[in-house]
């Protein structure tokens, strides 16, 4: 192409030469345009990711570089009851919270999709838990779950349902239930609002046709709404699972993994081991152990997107 541009300097082809120059420069131009973003992502994302894998194979501690110890950290973890407890907690937390978030989120989206007064205002209010920083709402939950002054215990006592305060964050299973509830509370708005956006693209005439054919409300949902919503559900739930699985701040603000490690997730455990105890290698190994699950979540997302292409089929999809 450079040959062409040098050989065609004549005025009529000035335009096309400019075009050609641009086209031949495209890769370089692209390189320069990509440079800032790529710089950030390579220096502060790709490099730490690799470094984390390396750290998990060393015995480094804070303030001292470690030496290569092979899979020793992982062997330690295999025999570590607290680690397996954190894996169990993480899976429980993710599964229960995601399933309920999906169910309530979808239900809320269906409700919000119906015609009602003050629609915009209600929708805006629904999203507020998602806007407020997680830690700050977690602190509010911490106060709501307070052992002595919990408003929930107080209300239940006044209703004569319980006689003594519930020790929400002091008892293992109550603590698990409490943090899961807080996570659901925080995640439902995201699921609901994104699914609502999906619902709004479903043409009302489909429902009208289904109703004329005698479909019940459940059938309309099952055979019209749900199939059309599947692609967006796949994406939303992948993100939801991803963020729930790697959750850190909610737990850290409310229980710090307590009582007796009952709410330790893999992320909080790795923070405790790596930063608080200073055993970087071991913490990095726990963090690395999360990766297979993340890959599984991404795999599901990819699968969902594939399905989406197959469903749309037409040439005009965004």
């Amino acid at each position: 192409m450079t040959v062409l541009t040098t050989r065609a300097p004549a005025p009529p082809s000035a335009l096309s030469s400019a075009w050609l120059r641009l086209r031949s420069n495209r890769n370089w131009l692209g390189f320069w345009f990509m440079l800032p973003a790529a710089g950030f992502l390579l220096l502060f994302l790709a490099y730490p990711l690799g470094l984390g894998l390396w750290l998990s194979l060393t015995d480094s501690r804070i303030g001292r570089g470690g030496s290569f110890v092979g899979l020793e950290n992982y062997q330690w973890l295999m025999d570590d009851g607290v680690f397996w407890l954190s894996v169990f907690n993480t899976l429980l937390y993710t599964t229960v919270a995601s399933v309920i978030k999906f169910a309530i989120g979808l239900y809320l989206a269906l409700l919000l999709n119906r015609h009602m007064p003050f629609k915009a205002l209600i929708r805006a209010a629904v999203l507020i838990p998602f806007i407020v920083p997680t830690v700050l709402s977690a602190i509010a939950f911490w106060w709501i779950y307070d052992a002595q002054f919990s408003i929930i215990s107080w209300s239940l006592r006044k209703l004569h349902i319980i006689s003594e305060n519930i020790n929400f964050l002091g008892d293992g299973n109550w603590a698990r239930a409490s943090v899961i509830f807080a996570n659901i509370w925080r995640g439902v708005p995201f699921v609901a609002i994104t699914l609502l956006a999906g619902l709004q693209t479903v043409s009302p005439s489909l429902y009208e046709a289904a109703t004329l054919d005698g479909a019940t409300a459940w059938q309309r949902f099952r055979y019209v709404t749900y199939p059309l919503l599947t692609p967006i559900i796949a994406v939303v739930m992948t993100f939801s699972v991803l963020f729930t699985f790697t959750d850190f701040q909610l737990i850290w603000a409310m229980t710090r993994g307590g009582p007796v490690n009952a709410t330790h997730l893999m992320a909080t455990l790795s923070y405790q081991r790596a930063i608080l105890s200073g055993r970087l290698g071991e913490g990095a190994a726990i963090a690395t152990a999360m990766i297979p699950f993340l890959v599984a979540a991404i795999g599901i997302s990819w699968f969902g997107l594939q399905q989406r292409k197959w469903q749309q089929g037409g040439p005009n999809n965004d």
Partner: protein
């Protein structure tokens, strides 16, 4: 779709057809049970913690721990003591300023980098552009929870530990993938012909970006900006790991670490801190609800 139209249709057809506006099939009691009641319950649950936060922040200490004489769901003689204490006796203003400074810095950097990257991927179509786009999407899926340990050592070795600059440089890794993905969607909607015209008129790629594409992508930029700002404000784990001295902390980290002592009277100032820390975002959100929603759904839909 309005009731009047439905009424007319029903009258003229003189039949119970449901051709227009299916809500016409529902009676008020059934709407009450299937729509308003569940919606009301969900809204109450979603908003109660904020009510509780705000109520606690203005409640005198005596009423906080005495749940028998006063109804805890309400407040008599509200006080601004907690908020006053927060603003004048702690370093809260400093933390608020840190949070804002870090969030603004990281957001501006990320948006600048994302605009360039998104434009390059969508319009320059350099060799390998689709792969770069996919790589950026995958970067979006890498959570901070698995990166913070090596990040601490990286920041330490760059000599940025305990400096807000560290967060300004680290946060773009969370923001760039998201906002690039969002802006790619916006740039795709801008007609290519506009750019061709400008090219023919002799504009450079840079001029096209600044004078044509960016003005047309303003809604997308606002969405990306607000969402990034909120994410930064919300970020916890990097701020917790990378900052150590009290005056340098951001609001979320400071609230968790600095207010937590054995004091039974801490709840008032703790809730005041949470309230004041949330308000800037809620106000921002109130002004840009639509942009916010489009950012959230746009990034998911793409």
């Amino acid at each position: 779709m309005t009731d009047a139209v439905v009424g007319q249709v029903a009258q003229s057809a003189q039949a119970q057809d449901s051709s227009e506006g299916m809500s016409y099939l529902e009676s008020l009691p059934s709407r009450l049970v299937t729509l308003y009641l569940p919606l009301f319950i969900i809204l109450v649950v979603l908003l109660f913690p904020f009510y509780w936060m705000a109520l606690t922040a203005i409640k005198p200490d005596a009423q906080l721990i005495d749940m028998e004489t006063y109804n805890p769901f309400w407040v008599v003689h509200p006080t601004l003591k907690h908020i006053e204490k927060l603003l004048f006796e702690t370093q809260y203003p400093r933390w608020l300023w840190n949070t804002m400074y870090v969030a603004a810095g990281a957001t501006v950097l990320s948006i600048a980098a994302s605009v360039l990257a998104a434009y390059a991927i969508v319009r320059l179509q350099f060799r390998g552009a689709p792969y770069v786009g996919a790589a950026i999407f995958f970067a979006y899926l890498v959570p901070p929870s698995i990166l913070f340990i090596p990040m601490a050592t990286v920041i330490q070795s760059y000599g940025l530990f305990d400096s807000p600059l560290a967060l300004i440089l680290v946060y773009p890794t969370l923001l760039i993938p998201f906002s690039t993905w969002l802006l790619m969607g916006y740039f795709k909607t801008i007609p290519f012909e506009l750019e061709e015209c400008a090219l023919i008129d002799g504009a450079s790629r840079w001029q096209i970006l600044v004078k044509i594409v960016l003005p047309l992508a303003v809604p997308g930029l606002i969405s990306a900006f607000i969402f990034c700002f909120t994410l930064c404000w919300n970020e916890f784990i990097y701020a917790l790991t990378l900052l150590s001295s009290t005056p340098n902390k951001t609001v979320p980290v400071a609230i968790v670490n600095e207010f937590v002592d054995g004091d039974i009277y801490r709840w008032g100032s703790l809730m005041a801190g949470a309230l004041v820390g949330s308000l800037p975002l809620v106000i921002l959100y109130a002004f840009f609800v639509e942009h916010y929603v489009s950012a959230m759904t746009g990034a998911v839909k793409e």
